[in-house]
Structures are given as structure tokens and as C-alpha cells.
């Protein structure tokens, strides 16, 4: 019967207190096994300490293995960083791997890992799969049948195209051993442990000890020396309450396999266990003659080995129980099993420099255990400011600055123990609200068909709210780090409905019904009446520009009833969708964005809420520009297929109503795509393949959009002078209506651009206003100017990052083009309405985060002589 290689046990125990030293020579034949079993780090440490001798060839292979393990590990740690919001949302914990490497082992290089193990309660598995799906993970194998991923089933393997595998567990051990384990208790008691400068949620050390023991016995069949080392490291963790761990094992009905795991570590590694754990291990040592003795325990352990061990063998069991089946001494203090001595063989010179003494080396290698320091691996109780209750506080590490400044939902700022109680149930999907909203809209349409034309005034807002709640739930599910966005959307619907009603009120009470909406309403009523009751609809020469709005108003009235207020609501809500598209585009494409500030501005800024909220072009243009912004954001991230869908729909809307706006957004997108640093998820190869396609599409779009715009504006020859002439005509056309102002001539001279930008974005000034609405707009502009001044560093950052973050370039170009062309408007009333369409681009520039906060006073000195290099590892 095979036994675990004693040489490997010797390496696995290297450096542990009281462990016998490994043989000094004879490792050449064992190197393959050392590397295969994940012991390269411990072996290298032993070699560095002069405990074992290796030749140059072995050193080379060892280094190669360490390099590969380190690269793999740091990639997985980076992935944990990326997944942090999802993990917080799911309330899950990270098992083994990175947690043990950083928070249990004295040096993370000693504990390799090749995947990510996550534990979530069984009823959240599907939700977890869904959430991780938004991060690019897919099941490695399809679920054999619905419901197969039961709480006691095997882990669900999820694979990312980038090569990372997540094992999604819903208990600590598959099969019967996992039945009594309270996973909710584990996730409720989760702690944040340091992972370099960041933290990750992990089980308490007591739960982790149970997990390590179960993994060693049930998962690895006591055949994996590193899993015994895991037990040893956690069993001696300074924050472990050994008594609580033993009590946990009993309460979860896994005392027996845990006892076998502890005894295996004790005997295999020569480990001295804390009293409470030694007592538990002792029960696995009770002679067969005693009641409840080891015969039953051995049977259970053997069963565990047969169930869980690789190849079904039980290689270590005979060694642990002693030859002839006799258990070793029951005295924990004398239970250390002496390691066998390997035959000595000649060895070459060491490939790595030896240090003066083993004691010194291990003293250096285990700083946290022997010299507590807040900057150590975090194992010291002093790092938390207290030996008890300071575990989670004691990570002693700053959280990395969250890009959006929001952090994960419901996550405490410092990873405090209270986070354990913050496990959230999976958000509901909002389908019921969506169905209810759609039903109300259907009811409105039905009422309209039967002559009730006013019920839409009530039902449409109600439907809007229900659909917003549904969207809110959806956002919380698929973007757990943005759960707050959904709540803001519901508020935004309320604000938009109020703004629409106030816009209606203003149009008819302040301006006596002299508004564009009145004309659209008239046509809409006639069209709807003709479609509903028969008769001749008013003739529309085409369905472009103003005629399109007339026709679309007719469609709205036909479906939902001929009520003007309801029409305002519908148009306003469509504009709100455009605002959200702006947010989605910017939040996804600009990595360092103050998302809350940006969403607040695009949803609640008075200009954006008020002007595009009536029956008219502004509302549909807000939707169109928002849609094309989202398309641009997707294009800049090489999501060509999805980008095309949004570009065609948003571009079509712009083309139908205001072709010159299509030209502006297309030119801006083209500049961003050509001039920006566009990177796709698929890396250089995918970028190389998709970029020419994107460039071709952009060129075609620009040609089309510009030709349409010139045709719309009546410019026969595209030149600076002809454009300036057109701008002058526009100035003359708009110098009417009562809100006109002294404008002067137009020029495309770049020196005039700042003046144009101020006019378009900030005027009228308070002393230029002649109505209450203009005064409000002026005050808002003053606040906007103040915001620009206060956040000037953000504006500068948006400029310096424009190429590396091409969507910022898009925003800049759009603002510049808008300023150059719309500054020809010589009417403040028109100006404030038109301005509302470009403000989201300006807001994106303002909302960029200027700098990170990870600055420290001094750089650590080191003695390096060569210039630095960076390369793909």
C-alpha cells in the first residue's frame, strides 16, 4: 500500500516549531514530486536556509516553478480585487488559496494556489453564477439538470476566458460531511483579511481550521502534504480560538474527520497542537478496545478517504495509524513522529546563496509570528489594536480607493466584523414590477381605444414608476456595486414627472400656450382621431424633423390617449432613458469617475430635468444623443455588435429629427476612436482584428452624417466660409422671439472658441435675463461655473486622460463642436434648451476623479543600479 512520501512530509513541515529538519541531500529524485505537490516555496525556503542542498539545475527548475506560481497567484489576487464588489454583494467568503497564503503563511510564496474558491450559501448559487457571469465567467460544464447545484453537491466550476477558474462552493465538504455545516454562520462571521494592500472576505479562523481539516481528509484523502501544512498554519494562527474551533467542529457534526485531519497534521508534520485541538485529535487516538474508540473513527476516516481521496486510495492512513493498525501514543506531547532519513547522495554547489543560520532565516521568514508589525502579513493581534475582537479590524491595511467612490453596497468602510452580519439576500429581479408597469400601459392603451383618453395621465406615471422599480431591481442584480443607481432612477422618474408637469404648466400659464408643443399637440390629436375614428389625417410631406415629432405625437396619442399632460410625461420619460444611457456610457468607459456626482447631474440638474421633458424635439434628442453616447462607449470598448444596435437606433433618431446633431456626435465618436487609445477585452489580437472594422464603420458614418448635415443646413460646398455663412444665417434666424441678445459675427477661429463655449454653456448671465425661467437658468449656470472652478483638477485630469480614456475625448470633442456651432444662436430661450443636450458631456468632464489618495511621504530606499523595465510576466 502506498504511503505519502516521507520526504515530502519533511518539506511540508519545514520551519514549523518543533519539526524535525528535512534531510540535507538526496533531493534530486524527489524534485518532481516537490514541484507537483505545491511545495516549491517551502523547498526553496529550506534551500535558502541551507537546510537542503540543491544543484544549479535544481535551482533553475525551482526558480522557474516559483516564477510561474507567483505570476498565477498575483493574477488571481488581481482578480479577487476586481471581483470585490460582487463578493461583498453576495456575502460570500474566499476559502484557502489567497487567504491562507497572505494571512496564515509567513510568506505568500510558500503557499501556491491555482484557482479561486468561493463559499456562498446554497440558495445563492444561481445568483452567484449570474453575478459572476457579468464579470465574464461561465460554467465550465453546463448544469446537468435544474437544481443539480444543491447545497450538498459538488462545487460549481466557473471559467473566465482569461484563464481564471472559480470553484463556487455551497458548503465546506461535499456529501454527508457537509450536511451539518452552517454556511450562513460562516458568511455571517466573515472577516476581512489583508491581501497585500487590499482586503478580502474570509471565514473566521475557527471556521477555516474546520475547512482545512475537512479538505485534508475528505477532499484530499490525506494524500496532499500541503493541506496538512494548511492545518498547521491555521492551528497556530495567533487569532485562532482553538476551543471555539473544536466546539464548531462538534456542533457541525464533523468532529471526527476534523480530528483525523488534526492528527494527520500532528503526526505527519511533527506539529504540536494547542490544547483544545490536541484534545480533539486525541479522540482519534483512542484504542479500539475503548467504547466509541478508533474502530468507528477509522471506519469513518477510511470511508472519507475512499469517498474523497484522489484515486480512492488512502496512502497516509497506515502511516498515521501506525503499522499493524495500532494507533500512536495517546499523549499529544509525545506524538511527534520522527521523519525518516533519506539516503545521502553527492550534490553540487548550491545555486542560491545560503544565509548564516537556519534560525536566522526562519526568524526572517516568519516575522509576523515572532515580531508583530502592522505592516506584516497581518497575523499579529497588535495590528488590530487588540488581541480579541480585533481580527477584522486588524487587517491594518487601507482599502484601495474605489474608482467610483461608492464602494460595494452595504459594505463597511474598514472591513469591520460587522460586515459579517451584512450578508444580503439576492435582490429580487423586479419582473413583477415590470409586468405590472407593462400592464398599466396596456390598460391605458385599452382605455384609449374605448374612449377614455384621460386615464393615461394617472396610469402612465404609475407605469413609469413601476418600470423604474423593475429597472432598479435589475440593476441591483446585474451590477451589485451600483444598487444605489436603481434607487436614484426611481427618484429621477418622480423628478422628471414633476418637471414635465411644471413644463406643461409653464407653457400654458406663463407663455399662454405659445410653445412648440402646442403645434405638435394639434397635429397629434388630428392624426390620432383619424387613425382611431377614420377620416383623413393631416397630410405630412415627409416624416422628417418637425413632421416626425408631429407624427410621433400622434402615435403617442393614438396608443395612450389624446391628453397633452400624458404626452409630456411620455416624452419626458423617454428623455430620462437617454439620461440613463449617458450615465451607463460614461460609468462603463471612464474608470475613475465620481459616479454619484455624475448621475446626480445627469438626472437632477434643472436644465436636464426640465427642458427635455415636453412634447418636442429636445426630449427625443436627449434619448437619441444618450443612445449614441452609449453606442460610442461600447465602440470604444470593442463591443462592436452591441454598439451597432445602439448606434443605428440612436443615429436614426438623430438623423430623422436633427441631422446636424448626428454629424456632431459622429464626428466626436470618430475623433475618439481614431485618436484615443482603444483597447478591447480580447487584448491586442482582438483589437487588431476589430479596429479596422471599427475604423471603416466610423469613416462611413462620418461621411454619411456630415453629408446629411450639410444637406439639412443647405450648405452646398463644405468649407469654413460656407459654415460660417450658415452660422450667420442661424444667428439672424434666432434673433427673434423676445429673448434675443446682441451676438456679433460668427467665426470658426479657435481663438473664439472659449467665448463660444461660455455663451453656449453659461449664458445668460444674471444681468442678461428677462424672465423668471431665464433667471433660474442663469443661477444654475453660475453654480455650474462654480463647480467647474472647484473641480478644475478634474477638468485637467479629463484633458490629460483624454487619449487613454477615449470616451473623455468624445466628451471633449462634443462639447467643443457644440460650442463652435451653437454659439451662433442669438436667443437665450433657444440657447438654454439646446444646451441641455450637451450638458451630460460636460458633466462627465467635471465628474472625473482627479487623483488617488495612495500617497505616502517617502519612497522606500533600495540599492538597485539598472534602469527599470516592465514586461508581461
Amino acid at each position: 500500500m502506498t504511503q505519502i512520501d516521507a520526504a515530502l512530509l519533511a518539506i511540508a513541515s519545514a520551519g514549523l516549531p518543533g519539526a524535525a529538519p528535512p534531510p540535507r541531500d538526496g533531493w534530486h529524485d524527489h524534485l518532481d514530486a516537490v514541484l507537483d505537490q505545491g511545495l516549491a516555496g517551502l523547498f526553496a525556503a529550506s534551500a535558502s536556509a541551507g537546510m537542503v542542498r540543491i544543484d544549479a539545475d535544481m535551482a533553475s527548475r525551482l526558480q522557474e516553478q516559483l516564477d510561474a506560481e507567483a505570476v498565477r497567484a498575483v493574477q488571481l489576487e488581481g482578480e479577487l480585487l476586481r471581483l470585490a464588489p460582487a463578493l461583498e454583494h453576495l456575502g460570500g467568503v474566499v476559502l484557502k488559496g489567497a487567504v491562507l497564503a497572505h494571512a496564515a503563511y509567513p510568506d505568500p510564496l510558500l503557499r501556491p494556489f491555482t484557482d479561486i474558491d468561493l463559499l456562498v450559501p446554497g440558495d445563492r448559487i444561481e445568483h452567484a453564477v449570474s453575478i459572476l457571469g457579468t464579470y465574464g465567467y461561465q460554467r465550465a460544464r453546463p448544469e446537468p439538470a435544474p437544481g443539480y447545484d444543491t447545497p450538498l453537491g459538488p462545487a460549481v466550476a466557473l471559467r473566465h476566458p482569461g484563464g481564471v477558474v472559480i470553484e463556487l462552493h455551497c458548503t465546506l465538504a461535499s456529501g454527508a460531511a457537509g450536511e451539518g455545516i452552517d454556511v450562513y454562520e460562516i458568511v455571517a462571521g466573515r472577516r476581512h483579511v489583508p491581501l497585500g494592500p487590499h482586503t478580502v472576505a474570509a471565514p473566521s479562523w475557527e471556521a477555516h481550521l474546520v475547512e482545512c481539516a475537512l479538505q485534508a481528509v475528505v477532499g484530499d484523502g490525506l494524500a496532499w502534504p500541503l493541506s496538512l501544512r494548511d492545518i498547521a498554519e491555521v492551528a497556530h494562527h495567533p487569532w485562532l480560538d482553538a476551543g471555539a474551533a473544536a466546539e464548531l467542529a462538534v456542533r457541525w457534526q464533523v468532529a471526527e474527520p476534523v480530528a483525523f485531519g488534526l492528527r494527520a497534521a500532528r503526526d505527519g508534520l511533527g506539529l504540536e497542537l494547542p490544547d483544545a485541538l490536541a484534545g480533539l485529535a486525541y479522540h482519534a487516538d483512542v484504542p479500539p478496545s475503548e467504547p466509541n474508540g478508533s474502530a468507528r473513527l477509522r471506519r469513518r476516516a477510511t470511508l472519507a478517504l475512499e469517498v474523497g481521496g484522489p484515486n480512492g486510495d488512502n496512502r497516509l492512513l497506515p502511516a498515521l495509524l501506525g503499522h499493524n493498525g495500532q494507533p500512536p501514543s495517546a499523549d499529544p506531547a509525545s506524538s511527534g513522529r520522527p521523519l525518516p532519513v533519506l539516503s545521502l547522495q553527492p550534490a553540487g554547489a548550491l545555486g542560491r546563496p545560503a544565509v548564516p543560520s537556519r534560525q536566522e532565516t526562519w526568524s526572517r521568514a516568519r516575522p509576523a509570528r515572532q515580531r508583530a508589525s502592522p505592516r506584516s502579513n497581518g497575523r499579529s493581534p497588535t495590528a488590530s489594536g487588540g488581541a480579541t475582537g480585533g481580527h477584522a479590524h486588524g487587517n491594518g491595511q487601507r482599502q484601495s480607493a474605489d474608482d467610483d467612490g461608492t464602494g460595494p453596497p452595504d459594505a463597511p468602510p474598514d472591513g469591520s466584523p460587522a460586515s459579517g452580519a451584512g450578508t444580503s439576500a439576492p435582490p429580487r429581479n423586479g419582473l413583477a414590477f415590470g409586468i405590472a408597469g407593462a400592464a398599466l400601459l396596456a390598460l391605458t392603451a385599452l382605455g384609449s381605444r374605448y374612449g377614455n383618453i384621460t386615464m393615461g395621465m394617472v396610469l402612465v406615471p404609475a407605469a413609469g414608476l413601476l418600470l423604474a422599480v423593475a429597472a432598479s431591481r435589475r440593476i441591483a442584480r446585474v451590477r451589485p456595486d451600483e444598487a444605489w443607481v436603481g434607487r436614484w432612477l426611481v427618484l429621477a422618474v418622480v423628478a422628471k414627472l414633476a418637471a414635465s408637469y411644471y413644463r406643461y404648466h409653464t407653457a400654458f400659464n406663463t407663455y399662454g400656450g405659445v410653445a412648440d408643443a402646442t403645434g405638435y399637440d394639434t397635429y397629434g390629436r388630428r392624426l390620432a382621431r383619424a387613425w382611431l375614428n377614420g377620416g383623413h389625417p393631416p397630410a405630412l410631406e415627409n416624416l422628417r424633423e418637425t413632421n416626425f415629432i408631429r407624427w410621433f405625437t400622434g402615435v403617442v396619442y393614438y396608443v395612450f390617449g389624446t391628453d397633452m399632460v400624458m404626452g409630456f410625461f411620455i416624452f419626458g420619460l423617454l428623455a430620462l432613458v437617454g439620461s440613463y444611457f449617458w450615465y451607463r456610457a460614461t460609468a462603463d468607459a471612464v474608470p475613475r469617475l465620481d459616479k454619484r456626482l455624475y448621475l446626480a447631474l445627469v438626472l437632477f440638474a434643472p436644465s436636464v430635468a426640465f427642458w427635455p421633458s415636453s412634447i418636442g424635439k429636445e426630449s427625443l434628442m436627449q434619448l437619441g444623443i444618450g443612445t449614441t453616447a452609449l453606442a460610442t462607449s461600447l465602440l470604444l470598448r470593442h463591443r462592436l455588435a452591441t454598439a451597432t444596435v445602439f448606434a443605428l437606433s440612436g443615429g436614426w433618431l438623430l438623423w430623422v429629427v436633427r441631422p446636424h446633431l448626428l454629424a456632431l456626435v459622429t464626428l466626436a465618436a470618430a475623433c475618439a476612436y481614431v485618436g484615443g487609445k482603444v483597447r478591447g477585452k480580447g487584448g491586442a489580437m482582438r483589437s487588431m482584428m476589430t479596429r479596422p472594422v471599427g475604423l471603416l464603420a466610423v469613416v462611413l458614418m462620418v461621411s454619411f452624417a456630415v453629408s446629411q448635415a450639410t444637406k439639412f443646413l443647405g450648405i452646398e460646398e463644405l468649407s469654413l466660409s460656407s459654415i460660417e455663412a450658415e452660422l450667420n444665417e442661424n444667428t439672424e434666424r434666432t434673433s427673434l422671439g423676445g429673448s434675443e441678445f446682441e451676438h456679433g459675427s460668427n467665426s470658426l477661429n479657435p481663438l473664439r472658441l472659449p467665448q463660444g463655449a461660455v455663451t453656449v454653456l453659461l449664458r445668460p448671465f444674471p444681468w442678461e435675463t428677462d424672465s423668471s425661467l431665464q433667471l433660474v437658468s442663469s443661477i444654475e449656470s453660475l453654480l455650474l461655473a462654480g463647480l467647474i472652478v472647484v473641480r478644475f483638477r478634474s477638468v485637467r485630469a479629463a484633458l490629460t486622460r483624454a487619449r487613454s480614456t477615449p470616451f473623455l475625448l468624445y466628451c471633449w470633442i462634443l462639447v467643443i463642436l457644440y460650442a463652435a456651432t451653437f454659439s451662433s444662436i442669438a436667443n437665450f430661450g433657444l440657447l438654454v434648451r439646446q444646451r441641455s443636450l450637451v450638458l451630460p458631456a460636460l458633466y462627465a468632464i467635471i465628474a472625473v476623479r482627479a487623483s488617488s489618495s495612495n500617497r505616502a511621504p517617502d519612497a522606500p530606499p533600495r540599492d538597485l543600479a539598472t534602469a527599470g523595465g516592465v514586461r508581461v510576466a
Binding site: 516559483l66 516564477d67 507567483a70 505570476v71 497567484a73 498575483v74 493574477q75 488571481l76 489576487e77 488581481g78 482578480e79 479577487l80 480585487l81 476586481r82 505568500p108 510564496l109 465574464g136 473566465h160 476566458p161 482569461g162 484563464g163 481564471v164 491581501l195 497585500g196 494592500p197 487590499h198 474608470p591 475613475r592 487609445k677 477585452k681 487584448g683 483638477r793 485637467r796 485630469a797 484633458l799 490629460t800 486622460r801 483624454a802 487619449r803 487613454s804 482627479a850 487623483s851 488617488s852 495612495n854 500617497r855 505616502a856 519612497a859 522606500p860 533600495r862 540599492d863 538597485l864 543600479a865 539598472t866 534602469a867 527599470g868 523595465g869 516592465v870 514586461r871 508581461v872 510576466a873
Partner: protein
């Protein structure tokens, strides 16, 4: 390099939140987990990375490096600039505003 303009010695860098790990004299950095390759900083790269993360300007980092190496600051500065641009290009840092 990325950025609207070339980096200057007066610039600082903001490091992108990343997982890092020492490997002998080198520093491994993963800024995107599964979505981007792990970068390996060699030579004086780890020292410069730490210097930039600590908020030093490129010029200050060059002075620090020159002191350690005994080289002239003017000799070191082009290397520091080149390395900083490599960091930005690799997506590990962005020029601070």
C-alpha cells in the same frame, strides 16, 4: 505612451489599484485580474513603482534613484521618463492631474 501629452519630470503618477507581489528583485503587478496580463517590473522598476505610488514626481524619483545608484541625475532622468511611460502604457498608472 498613453496620455494627451508626453510625461514631464514634474508629473506624478496615480497607480491603478493592483495586486502586487515581490519575486526576488522583481515586482509582479496585476491591475485587471483575468482581464489583463500580469506585468513584471524588473531592474529599478520596483523601486520606481514604489516611488510613484508614494507620490513622488518623476524628477524626485530620478533624484532618489540617482542617489542610490551613484549615477548622475541627468543620466537617470530619461530612464525614469521611459519607465513611467511604460507604466502608463501598460495600464498600471495614469498621469496625475
Amino acid at each position: 505612451m498613453e496620455g494627451w501629452r508626453a510625461l514631464e519630470l514634474t508629473d506624478r503618477l496615480d497607480m491603478v489599484p493592483s495586486a502586487t507581489r515581490r519575486l526576488g528583485p522583481d515586482l509582479l503587478v496585476s491591475a485587471g485580474g483575468a482581464t489583463s496580463p500580469v506585468e513584471r517590473l524588473t531592474g529599478s522598476g520596483p523601486e520606481l513603482y514604489d516611488a510613484f505610488a508614494a507620490g513622488l514626481t518623476l524628477a524626485e524619483a530620478a533624484v532618489s534613484l540617482a542617489q542610490h545608484t551613484g549615477a548622475a541625475v541627468t543620466t537617470v532622468e530619461p530612464h525614469v521618463l521611459e519607465f513611467a511611460e511604460a507604466l502608463v502604457s501598460a495600464g498600471l498608472a495614469v498621469p496625475a492631474a
